[in-house]
Assembly symmetry: C2
Homo-oligomer: 133 residues x 2
């Protein structure tokens, strides 16, 4: 992902189109797809859950790598994709890099996946024969 794309992700934090309430336009869909794609990998999901659930709010990369049967560069690549998607941030301190969740992005995803209050989705009729039009 380019730096320009990262800036676009950052700029749209305030926008929050509802995935369930109106059709997304192409730009909204492209931007959101980048974030969901970052979540679409088991290793990245485990990394994110390890970072997000850590007491103290941040995790040293040195504590993440031993949980996986993967090389340090591979783990770093996955972390880079999570960071580029705006899901985590990092800070180098001395030898190690420390990662923390950016809850704004997970809040945003939760928001767009939440049905509007008081508006249950209508269910189609259970009988179907002859109902096509």
């Amino acid at each position: 992902m380019s730096k320009q794309e990262l800036e676009v992700l950052g700029q749209t934090d305030a926008c929050c189109p509802g995935l369930l309430t109106a059709p997304l336009d192409e730009d909204q869909a492209a931007e959101l797809a980048t974030v969901f794609k970052a979540l679409g990998d088991p290793v990245r999901l485990r990394l994110l859950s390890m970072i997000a659930s850590r007491a103290g709010g941040e995790v040293c990369v040195c504590d993440l790598t031993p949980a996986f049967d993967l090389s340090q560069p591979t783990i770093s690549h996955h972390l880079k994709l999570l960071k580029q998607a705006g899901l985590i941030d990092s800070e180098r301190r001395g030898t190690w890099v420390y990662y923390r969740l950016l809850p704004q992005m997970t809040d945003r995803l939760a928001g767009i996946l939440t049905r509007p209050a008081g508006e249950p989705l209508p269910q189609p009729a259970q009988t179907s024969a002859g109902a096509a039009s």
Copy 2:
């Protein structure tokens, strides 16, 4: 995705591990990644938003295809991936196939991305020099 995998997705609806509250295990991560991967494409996100936001609760594939500069088989492939992920269901009536949202899955995703009530994520100290350990 195999039929067996689909059944696994269906069986775990009641499980809802919190992505932000505890580290996911490998099986949970693999299953969730399948769903997020299905969302990690702009065309599929647009299709899902068109289906989810449609008054009446369902959409004919004949109303979805014209919105895209893509072939009918390509659109059908994307819809198949959304269906395999448990995000939508479909029903053939006469000539056309009708799609509807399965809100259980989007509710579930929203749930695992929502921070526990009353438990704001701790923020790391803003000063970092010499804080590594």
